[in-house]
């Protein structure tokens, strides 16, 4: 038994290992813990039958949750009014276009100078194929959709500390990681090192699978050749006629690849929400909010800052200020209230609800995130580097560069997402004035695309902790907080029910806002009909 492998693992752990190599397992687990993974429970348009004629509902917030509730309850015969802090519908469903002005907390104002048709989505920007409620509302509201690319094999993975700071294509890193790992596993299996883990008949299949998966040659080696260049790309592509000879590329060594840490980013596209097919609205994410807003028309009262929410035995009275005209506080009253104000804001507004709901509202802190949009004179990422949509990842503070998923081949300017980051770097970004955020983002990006320096025109930077109507990008749940507070946050308290992404298990996703809203509407309707 001297041949007994030093490694001991069962079959299950081997396949788990393979899953880990592929990267999906860890990322999915990490994302689950962040609350970014989950399934949509939408099964078609909601039916609300038997609404007592003229029963009034006051909805606070004209984001997707609030407008979805207003739309469905109005259609069901309720007397609906909506109060909204901003002067536009949509909330975090939002696009910034040329000519728009955005003033953040503290007063810094940015005038967006993008060319016509170009935009930045400061908030959500992608719509997974399984976010069925969101897609269905787009269909019903006639919002046109187009594909959003998550994984682009021609885009880059970049580390300032590896390969001399030279970006590598996703294509090469992905192929080389798979290839090297496949080679190691195939060799270990062929040399009987995995005998305890894999049966003889499975071993042959595994080895064959590794050859196909990793692009190994007949000796189970991952090395320079046509086979591997077909995965990782050529130095010069095959052509026609007398200039057709391709120049093959050299795989990165296992050592360099491991040390580079670039493999950290190859799993992003394996996450449920980031798998094909993903959509975006034609013309910007904000098109959904606009469509809802058009549908609801004068039911939405804009520029209304809610200052107090009081309920009694017969209804809910909300005090608000008109931020445009000023003057004394006004009130709105209805029999019922659906409140979609983010917990970050709601925790500061006096509200008559019981201790369980109030504790839940106070328990959520709001995460930091930043997005920076940059306009360049020409679409050099397409013209020079054949990158059409998708995104590059970097270890620099901007974390990511997102390429536009529309307007391909346009001659004129284009807008990139120059930075999209959470955590420590986004706090740093938020602490800078907007123009410095833009300047830094150009500086970081030019390490990946040197064209930045000559082609940059102007930019806009949204730090979510500075957004006056959310004070952060999304509510932060932990498993512990959910166990203690989630049900209390969602339960109807007297005549008030809360809705929004924060009252969902798809936090920060528009689908979560819609499903939370539909669930709240359904429960409220049942209560109204029963009473």
């Amino acid at each position: 038994m001297t041949d007994k492998p030093a490694l001991s693992m069962n079959r299950r752990s081997l396949f788990k290992l393979i899953g880990t190599v592929a990267g999906s397992a860890i990322m999915y687990q990490a994302m689950s813990e962040l609350g970014h993974a989950g399934e949509s429970g939408y099964s078609g348009p909601i039916e609300l039958k038997g609404a007592p004629r003229g029963t009034s509902v006051l909805i606070l917030g004209a984001g997707l949750a609030g407008m979805c509730a207003a739309y469905e309850m109005r259609n069901a015969g309720y007397d609906v009014q909506v109060l909204e802090y901003n002067d536009r519908p949509g909330g975090r469903n939002w696009s910034l276009y040329g000519g728009d002005t955005y003033t953040e907390m503290g007063g810094a104002t940015q005038k967006v100078q993008f060319a016509e048709g170009l935009y930045l989505n400061p908030g959500p920007w992608r719509m997974p194929y399984h976010h069925r409620a969101l897609l269905d509302y787009c269909k019903r509201l006639k919002v046109r959709l187009e594909p959003f690319t998550q994984v682009n094999y021609a885009a880059y993975l970049h580390s300032s500390m590896a390969f001399g700071g030279k970006p590598q294509t996703y294509r090469a890193v992905h192929a080389d990681f798979n290839g090297h790992v496949a080679e190691l596993l195939a060799k270990a299996a062929n040399q009987n090192h995995l005998d305890q883990a894999v049966s003889r008949e499975d071993r042959e299949i595994l080895v064959e699978a590794m050859r196909g998966w990793g692009a190994l040659d007949k000796n189970y080696e991952y090395k320079k050749g046509l086979l591997t260049s077909e995965r990782r790309g050529y130095v010069a592509d095959p052509g026609g006629g007398l200039t057709s000879e391709p120049t093959l590329s050299d795989p990165l060594s296992l050592h360099d690849l491991m040390q580079s840490r670039l493999w950290r980013s190859i799993a992003a596209g394996h996450i449920y929400e980031f798998q094909n097919t993903i959509f975006q609205p034609v013309g910007g994410m904000g098109m959904i909010g606009r469509a809802f807003g058009r549908e609801l028309g004068e039911l939405i009262h804009y520029n209304a800052k809610v200052t107090e929410i009081k309920q009694d035995e017969t209804g809910v009275t909300v005090a608000y200020q008109d931020t445009k005209t000023g003057g004394p506080a006004k009130t709105a009253r209805a029999a019922w209230c659906i409140c979609t104000i983010p917990a970050s804001i709601l925790s500061q507004i006096p509200i008559t609800v019981g201790a369980p709901m109030k504790s839940a509202i106070d328990a959520l802190y709001y995460d930091s995130a930043i997005k920076v949009g940059l306009q360049f004179k020409r679409r050099f990422w397409e013209q020079d580097e054949s990158i059409y949509g998708g995104m590059s990842f970097t270890d620099l503070p901007n974390a990511m560069i997102g390429y536009p998923n529309s307007g391909y081949f346009d001659e004129g300017p284009g807008v990139l997402l120059g930075a999209y980051t959470f955590g420590a770097n986004s706090f740093l970004y938020a602490a800078m004035p907007p123009e410095e955020r833009v300047r830094k983002t150009v500086e970081y990006g030019s390490q990946i695309h040197p064209q930045y320096t000559a082609e940059f025109q102007h930019g806009v930077a949204v730090a979510w902790h500075r957004v006056p109507w959310t004070l952060g990008c999304a509510g932060h749940w932990t498993e512990e907080l959910r166990a203690r507070h989630f049900d209390n946050l969602c339960a109807i308290d007297g005549r008030i029910v809360l809705a929004g992404e924060h009252a969902s298990r798809l936090p920060a996703w528009q689908e979560g806002a819609l499903l939370s809203s539909l669930d709240a509407v359904r429960r409220l309707h049942e209560r109204v009909v029963a009473s």
């Binding site: 490694l7 962040l34 104000i341 804001i345 802190y365």
Partner: protein, 132 residues
């Protein structure tokens, strides 16, 4: 036997790396760390002023960020220590991401600037003791 040993070594290396990969980062860890600022002023300007503003006067929108300038609530040092460590309502907790020294430094900075003149410095030990 040489190649076999090489493969085993290589495999061990890979398994080691996979162990690192497989240790899924907790949300807490992802959001933790990365704050390299050390002095109170650096930390304030690198983190706090994102919300509390460069002049520490806070800001008002649909909700508000409280002012820390001339703030009588800072009189009892344990109050800002607790808030910075654990967060409060919309404010994130910084306990997981800042060291005891960083927390002490930034609180001592705010308590002696922006019109605050509290003389009793917060010690690193006091921050450590306040962690729960």
């Amino acid at each position: 036997m040489k190649p076999r040993i090489d493969i085993l070594c290589a495999l061990t290396v890979v398994i080691g790396l996979l162990a690192v990969l497989a240790r899924a980062p907790h949300a807490q860890e992802i959001y933790a760390g990365g704050y390299t600022q050390q002095t109170g002023e650096e930390i304030y300007k690198g983190i706090c002023q994102g919300c509390h503003m460069p002049d520490a006067k806070g800001a008002i929108g649909a909700g508000a960020y409280p002012a820390l300038a001339a703030d009588s609530r800072l009189a009892a040092a344990i109050y800002p220590v607790t808030v910075v460590l654990n967060g409060q309502r919309a404010m994130p907790p910084f306990g997981p991401s800042l060291s005891d020294e960083q927390v002490a430094n930034v609180i001592n900075y705010v308590r002696t600037h922006f019109g605050n003149h509290y003389k009793d410095a917060v010690t690193i030990a006091a921050v450590k003791a306040a962690r729960r």
